[in-house]
Amino acid sequence: MSTVALGLDRTLLELKMYSREKEAVFFSFLFPILLLTLFSVIFSGQFEDAAAATGMTAGGYFLPGMLSAGVLLTSFQTMSMSVATERDDGTLKRLRATPMPPVAYFLGKVGLVAVSSVLQVALLLLVARLAFGVAMPTTAQRWTVFAVVFALGVFGGTVLGIGYSSMASSRSIGPVVIGPLLLLQFISGVYIAFDDVPQWLQQFAALFPLKWIAQGMRSVFYPDSLAAAEMAGTWETGRTILVLGAWAVGGLVLCVLTFRWFKRGTT
């Protein structure tokens, strides 16, 4: 079989395993959808005036953040945790013992993340539109930005996650991933409005891709009048794509350079 066909086969196997892992499905796949529902219900009262004046509902307000969290969870969190586990439990060694081209393994991972994150985003948009009446973008230009930010975010998260998996063993990878990610989500404008974050923290958050994913998503779903609340006072679409592109390329290089098939201390 060709490498691409084997990559497809790996993708199907990965999807089977992922969908059968209830914790993964809940904490990475459904979590942003649950949070969007929760925030929309809890904060609907506070958004009554804004909704009457500008059409901004709680659901619409939180949607970009939840989309960004979803990208991060299905790519970075899923990858870093699953690859660390597979390195420790011998899965990688077993695969390395076969004539499977290594690229097929990575294609399987990319396929898993692509399918699960596209499904997640579709569900998020459906819930936002149907349950909370969030207006969808109407211009092709906005949808293009959406697609590019999403694709770069997911790809970058995948390769960075695979690279990050080498930071810890399967025993410690949970806290090592979830702790920093939670902090990053709070300072990147996912759960709380980015303009409420102190400026020095904003500057720090801007070093990481999540802030840019969230900003890109806001530029797609928020009215242009809200661009003034951003750090630069504009959506910075070009810079967003550049920064995310740089992270994706850097992540790929890092992933290729640091990837190990075996546990530490076994070669």
């Binding site: 790996r10 059968r20 390395r96 076969t98 004539p99």
Partner: protein, 289 residues
């Protein structure tokens, strides 16, 4: 037939301690070869170098004519490795795991055939998390043979098996061997080596101590036998190079049945323990098994 594996002067050290120390060994095509040795003897290091998972410090190694260091996927296509444990498959079924593994080989066996060979047909569609330890081990073996390898590495394959499962497993290994598969087995069980292996190599401290058929290892077949019997309520025993004549002589003297008569030669285990005992004394940390 030629040699499936040739090892010359293999050396590998960890932190200055030589785990493998100038090992020379040939394994013939089509034979079942058992590598024995106490923990820390260098078995695992040697096997992992042969499998291409570790790199040697020095020496020349050829596995199916190829240096495993940097050997390509076409080489991997010809070998099968049964690892000590294969985790990470809890959420799929044996059939799914085998089908996915079979696809990467160019001459894979039928998945159904392999499931039958290891006796997992009834569990074929049960998630692997629900398999017993012995069933998981059989799945490990199935994953190692599904690619129809010319050379199979078996690392302590029957650890945790019940006696019936071990017998069934031995039968499977004999069938693979009859088909012409070369098998390199490491084991702690001397009876397993005796039942399966055409030849046995004993290593300790990274060197080959003995190399022979199980029956002849360490001069077993030439050794004196021990004849023992009960007479007047006392256990008698004598060591002799001619046990048949000795039994006849005693029987003639006693004039009838000899109660409790046994004629024994050293077991493989006794021979093995005698071989490795000097090397265990070196550091006192080795555990014979």
């Amino acid at each position: 037939m030629g040699d499936a594996i040739t090892i010359r002067g293999l050396t590998k050290a960890y932190d200055g301690r030589r785990a493998v120390d100038g090992l020379d060994l040939d394994i013939r095509s089509g034979e079942v070869f058992a590598l024995l040795g106490p923990n820390g003897a260098g078995k695992t290091t040697t096997v992992e170098i042969l499998e291409g998972f570790r790199t040697a410090d020095d020496g020349d190694v050829r596995v199916l004519g190829v240096d495993p260091r940097g050997a390509g996927l076409s080489w991997r296509d010809r070998i099968g490795i049964v690892l000590q444990s294969s985790g990470g498959l809890d959420l799929v079924t044996p059939r799914e795991a085998l089908a996915s593994t079979a696809r990467v080989y160019s001459h894979a066996r039928e998945v159904g055939e392999v499931l039958a060979a290891v006796g997992l047909q009834e569990k074929a569609d049960t998630r692997i998390v629900g398999l017993s330890g012995g069933q998981r081990r059989r799945l490990d073996v199935a994953l190692g043979i599904v690619g129809h390898p010319e050379l199979l590495f078996l690392d302590e394959p029957t650890t945790g098996f019940d006696p019936q499962a071990r017998r069934d497993f031995w039968e499977l290994i004999r069938e693979l061997s009859l088909e012409g598969t070369t098998i390199l087995l490491t084991t702690h069980y001397l009876d397993e080596a005796e039942a399966l292996a055409d030849r046995v190599g004993v290593i300790a401290a990274g060197r080959l101590l003995a190399l022979d058929t199980p029956a002849a290892l360490g001069g077993r077949s030439a050794d004196e036998a021990t004849v023992a019997w009960d007479e007047d309520g006392i256990r008698h025993s004598i060591r002799t190079a001619t046990p048949t004549a000795e039994v006849a002589r005693i029987a003639a003297r006693v004039g009838g049945e000899l109660p409790g008569l046994t004629v024994t030669r050293p077991t493989l285990e006794e021979t093995y323990l005698a071989l490795i005992s000097p090397h265990l004394a070196d550091d006192g940390s080795g555990v014979p098994a």
